[in-house]
Amino acid sequence: MPPQQPARFADVADVTARLSAAGYLPDAQIATTVFLADRLGKPLLVEGPAGVGKTELAKALATATSSDLIRLQCYEGLDEARALYEWNYKKQLLRIQASQNSADGGDWGDLHDDVFGEEFLLSRPLLTAIRRTEPTVLLIDETDKADVEVEGLLLEVLSDFQVTIPEIGTIVATRRPMVVLTSNATRELSEALKRRCLYLALDYPSAEREREIVLSRVPELAPALAEQLVRTVRALRAMELKKSPSISETLDWAQTLLALGMDTLGTDEVRQTLGVVLKHGSDQTRAAAELRLN
């Protein structure tokens, strides 16, 4: 598996430094896995609960490697025409009709080559990423939402980085994009797909790292308050809630405290702002009871 182009990162420390500069604080696991994904030239599959920074990692990678981010958002019913490429039927039809009306009537061979040309091809994210010559990060977001058939398509594209369009020929990537797949683990992705990827399980960060994240994203927040905030969020996560607060919700909470000018996080403050982190009524009731807010 020799890398097709010079490696983007020199070593793990380099990954850490450049991702940090891009505003994403990686821990040892993230940095090592990203480094390997680059070195081994394999796609990176990031799995974890919502809001732990999966998509954010891909964006930071794009910034850190000065690449453009191409994003394929998966959803139920996503098909080849939306993910890979599609012929612009409407335009093709107009072209045919226009040539019928013209005096000479047009030669079929010319016309055929013409309507199946570059001009009528609608490039979707996967094809776009493969054809680009500039550095690219391809983000395939929420892969678990897509149907199983799409996984087959991804397998094909991600193993060879080439696409065959019958009318045009095979398009091979001149420059392999760095691929990041994310999944919320709502369903198990197929073994075949997982085997081709490097697997990175993202979870809620350690207290120390979360505090650093809060302070880097919301620098105006007092360090002592950040500490208090992170510990409170961790106490919430230890409860059996429907939806545990994620990093993004911790950050929202920090912003809220800042906006409201609160400089401590006491019982009153938590009671007033709990809605920022817990979005289910039952979760709020439960948290209020366990934290003795009432």
Binding site: V12, Q29, Y89, L94, A207
Partner: protein
């Protein structure tokens, strides 16, 4: 792979991969090859890089990580022993001379380390805590030396230091003089719990490492590795396992819901929507390139869950009731019934947003599931159900029976069940007992099996498999 001598590192990696496989984590050949590539790419002197790097190619699910970490620590143990021996040695060498009784010296040492532990726990520096754990095992964890070598025990360390009794001092320290009670204390308690757990884990890891050096890592690996959460037997699950299992319920329900609604959509769209098609064709010069269809009338799946909640299947029924609750949030047409020796509808306890543990308790208290002696009576339970809720099962209903089919040698009520199965669209029986025990003793599972497809669901993995084949 230059620089690697054959037999050395590759053989070691191979042994590690085998151990990971033996622990129930499937690792394919290609992953093993990738692991070798990882060795060439990462900085081998940085142990954490190696740990995370190998994890990236060997693991495919988050739940496998704790098992992997235990094995990794055994196969790639820490070799540097910062300052521990030098501190420990003088204490031991000096022992015979000073004439202080052994027990006293031990007690003094324990007290000293305890004070140290308190400081480290208050500080919250994980690396320092780990180092301290290694030192504590070295000094307090030794068992009686035997001919086979020195053995170490985590219980000795934990007994000597009794970290649980430090909680109150830790709380005082963390609260920094603030009042007890209320939010601050709850938050501090959580922090204390986390740090104590980290210390305990560090002690256990160190003991494992030392045992591995004495007894060989293969033997330690076999005993130290716990089964993965979704492989834990429902009927033997501890409360910690259940908490882990609960986390897997919501995705499972979502998956089940997605499958059922996917089936709904799969049948091609309904009749041609002429108006929409013609309007769309205007964009292509009057040629209807894309046809539009009217959506089919949506078939709402109805699910009736009939769940044995007697004591013998408590772990299982608790779990399945949670699945029921999760399903309720996706479907309106879910009705739940619970039975012991009589049946009652329990749908009302599962309003969306209700707390499941709470609901299960309320069912035990308020639902009318016991009419006689509180031992399972399937015959009577099915009878009551068929009689009182005759209309619940119809041609659109999927029936799900959950229970072990142990009738206490009473009437199994086969004709009633057969009739219910005939009336429903589809019916399944999920049995938490291993299939080989069906029909043994008072189990009527083998009889029920002739009328209703019975599926062995002993753990979350099997339940997930059932859900995906549905």
């Amino acid at each position: 792979m230059d620089g690697i001598t054959p037999g050395g590192l590759p053989a070691h990696l191979d042994g590690f991969v085998r151990a990971v496989r033996e622990a129930g984590i499937p690792v394919g050949i290609s992953s093993a090859v990738d692991a070798a590539h990882v060795l060439t790419a990462v900085d081998l002197l940085d142990r954490e890089q190696l740990r995370h790097g190998l994890a990236a190619v060997l693991l495919h699910r988050a739940a496998q990580r704790p098992t992997y970490d235990v094995l990794f620590d055994l196969w790639w143990p820490l070799t540097d022993r910062p300052s521990v021996p030098s501190e420990a040695e003088p204490a031991q060498d000096g022992a015979p001379d000073d004439g202080v009784p052994d027990a006293d010296r031990q007690a003094a040492l324990a007290a000293e380390l305890r004070a140290e532990l308190l400081r480290k726990l208050l500080d919250g520096d994980e690396e320092a805590l780990r180092r301290f754990a290694r030192q504590a095992v070295e000094q307090l964890g030794q068992g009686q030396p035997s001919p086979s070598g020195q053995s170490f025990f985590s219980y000795r360390v934990l007994r000597a230091l009794s970290p649980d009794t430090l909680v109150s001092q830790l709380l005082d320290g963390l609260l920094g003089g603030a009042d007890r009670g209320g939010l601050a204390e709850q938050v501090a308690r959580q922090t204390v719990r986390e740090r104590l757990a980290a210390f305990r884990a560090a002690v256990e890891a160190e003991v494992r490492r030392r045992s591995a050096a004495e007894r060989g890592r293969e033997r330690v690996a076999r005993t130290a590795v716990k089964p993965l959460a979704d492989q834990v037997d429902f009927l033997r699950a501890q409360s910690a396992d259940l908490a882990e299992l609960r986390r897997s319920v919501a995705p499972l329900a979502r998956r089940l819901a997605a499958r059922l609604s996917a089936k709904r959509r799969l049948g091609r769209a309904g009749r041609l929507d002429f108006r929409k098609t013609v309007r769309a064709s205007l964009a292509t010069g009057g040629v209807p390139v894309v046809t539009h269809h009217k959506p089919r009338a949506v078939h709402k799946p109805e699910l009736v869950v009939l769940c044995d909640i007697s004591g013998s299947v408590a772990g299982f029924s608790h779990f399945t009731l949670m699945l029921t609750q999760a399903l309720r949030e996706h479907f309106s047409g879910v009705r739940a019934f619970a039975f012991v020796d009589s049946t009652d509808e329990v749908t009302r306890f599962f309003t969306p947003g209700a707390d499941v543990a709470d609901a299960v308790q309320r069912i035990g208290r308020e639902a009318d599931v016991v009419s006689f002696d509180g031992h399972s009576d399937y015959g009577n339970a099915f009878g009551v159900f068929a009689e009182r809720w005759a209309s619940a099962v119809g041609p659109k209903t999927s029936l799900l029976v959950l229970g072990d089919g142990r009738t206490n040698y009473r009437q199994p009520g086969l004709p009633v069940l057969a009739d219910l199965v005939r009336r429903s669209r589809s019916a399944y029986w999920l049995n938490p007992e291993p299939a080989r025990l069906w029909g043994s003793g008072d189990s009527a599972a083998d009889k029920y099996k002739q009328f209703i497809p019975m599926i062995e669901v002993r753990n979350a993995a099997q339940l997930a498999e059932f859900v995906t084949t549905l």
